[in-house]
Amino acid sequence: MHEVSIMEQTLEIALENVRSQGVNKIHWLKMRIGEMSGVVPEALEFAFDVVTEGTIAQGAKLDIETVPVVCYCPNCGREFHPPDLFYECPQCGHLSSQIIAGKEIELTSLEVS
């Protein structure tokens, strides 16, 4: 889902954050991508190579942390990681629609010089 556009936006955010800090090179970008975000990490990596060419991030390492889905069960008040797309609480069987984690599309940090 729009991995090229997302990577373009990511690069823009990265460049904005290092503007006027005398940064010559971005060596490493860390992203957190949720399992249910709709974004495919492999496509992001492909997009990364394309989008960073000719920029100070060219040749940088892209480190993607996949964030697993975590649901909250309002019935028994516990959090759980569902094994499939039916978010069934392992304790009480209630079907949860409260997703606490797993939808992130985040630029977390950079390593620069």
Binding site: M1, H2, E3, V4, S5, I6, Q9, T10, I13, A14, N17, V18, Q21, H27, W28, M36, S37, G38, V40, A43, F46, A47, L85, F86, Y87, L95, S96, S97, I99, K103, E104, I105, E106, L107, T108, S109, L110, E111, V112, S113
Partner: protein
């Protein structure tokens, strides 16, 4: 170009008006952390960012939400695959409710204003967004279009999204209710194939029930799948063509409008 669906996300978006002169959720807001720099042995330093890539759209969507709330509008974001019957459903809904509710519509398509023309026949304000190559609507497009409608007399603003069950799921438009449509010709396992979209739905409408038998639609299987993937959704089974099942949908809509109108009167906590 979008690596998944091949659309060019950078495109010209056209917005034009068809006014006939007569009348959820879950997103992430990240504070941008101050550039926290740690020195690394190799002369590198790290910069903490922790910003959501869709942050800009999320913020604009919240702005839309506040704007629409102040106008006492109930706003729907209607989504489905192409051909599920979104426009037919909306045509029918608007026509049948014409004496009870005032509606306005924003419709998104890549090309043509055919949908806007169809909806415009009901003598309600319609704005067409032609996205060119963009395969989903975003919050800023919706606000630009909304400004071309006189919202004051309206109770209901309906946004008919681009026919696409993938990309629009991630773009909050500032709606109050997300309505996902599927038709009986699309198969009972649709919700299993598009969990991100169905899990974001407040309402799921099964359309074209008048031909369910002819296509061998397995109703119980479909309902089970919807309830398992989207336990939070209210389900309606309708035929926009014959009108079957539409009264329950109308009753729900009217109730939601009442709730929305009384929401503006509550102090914001």
């Amino acid at each position: 170009m979008c690596g998944t669906c091949g659309c060019g996300v950078i495109g010209e978006v056209g917005i034009h008006s068809h006014t006939h002169d007569r009348d959820r959720h879950h997103h992430h807001h990240y504070e941008r952390a101050p550039g926290d720099r740690h020195s690394k042995g190799n002369g590198h330093r790290s910069v903490q960012i922790a910003q959501s890539i869709l942050d800009k759209n999320d913020r604009l969507a919240e702005r839309n939400r506040g704007y629409f709330l102040a106008k006492e509008l109930l706003v729907l974001n209607v989504l489905s695959s192409p051909g599920s019957g979104k426009t037919a459903l909306l045509e029918r809904t608007i026509t049948d409710l014409n004496d009870r509710l005032k509606s306005g519509v924003i419709v998104g398509d890549l090309e043509t204003d055919n949908d806007a023309q169809r909806l415009g026949r009901s003598d309600i304000p319609v704005v067409q967004i032609t996205t060119g190559t963009v395969c989903h609507l975003e919050a800023d497009m919706v606000m630009q279009a909304a400004k071309k409608i006189n919202l004051e007399p309206l109770d209901l603003l309906i946004i008919e999204n681009v026919g696409n069950l993938v990309c629009p799921a991630s773009y909050d438009l500032g709606e109050n209710l997300r309505v996902v449509l599927l038709s009986v010709t699309e198969g009972e396992d649709k919700p299993l194939k598009y969990p991100t979209m169905f899990k974001s739905a407040d309402v799921v409408i099964i359309n074209k029930i008048d031909i369910a038998e002819a296509v061998g639609f397995e109703r119980n299987k479909a309902l089970t799948n919807i309830k398992r993937v989207a336990p939070q959704a209210t389900i309606f089974e309708v035929s926009a063509r014959t009108g079957a099942g539409m009264e329950a949908w109308y009753a729900y809509l009217e109730k939601q409008i009442q709730i929305q109108k009384s929401a503006i009167e509550q102090p914001l906590l």
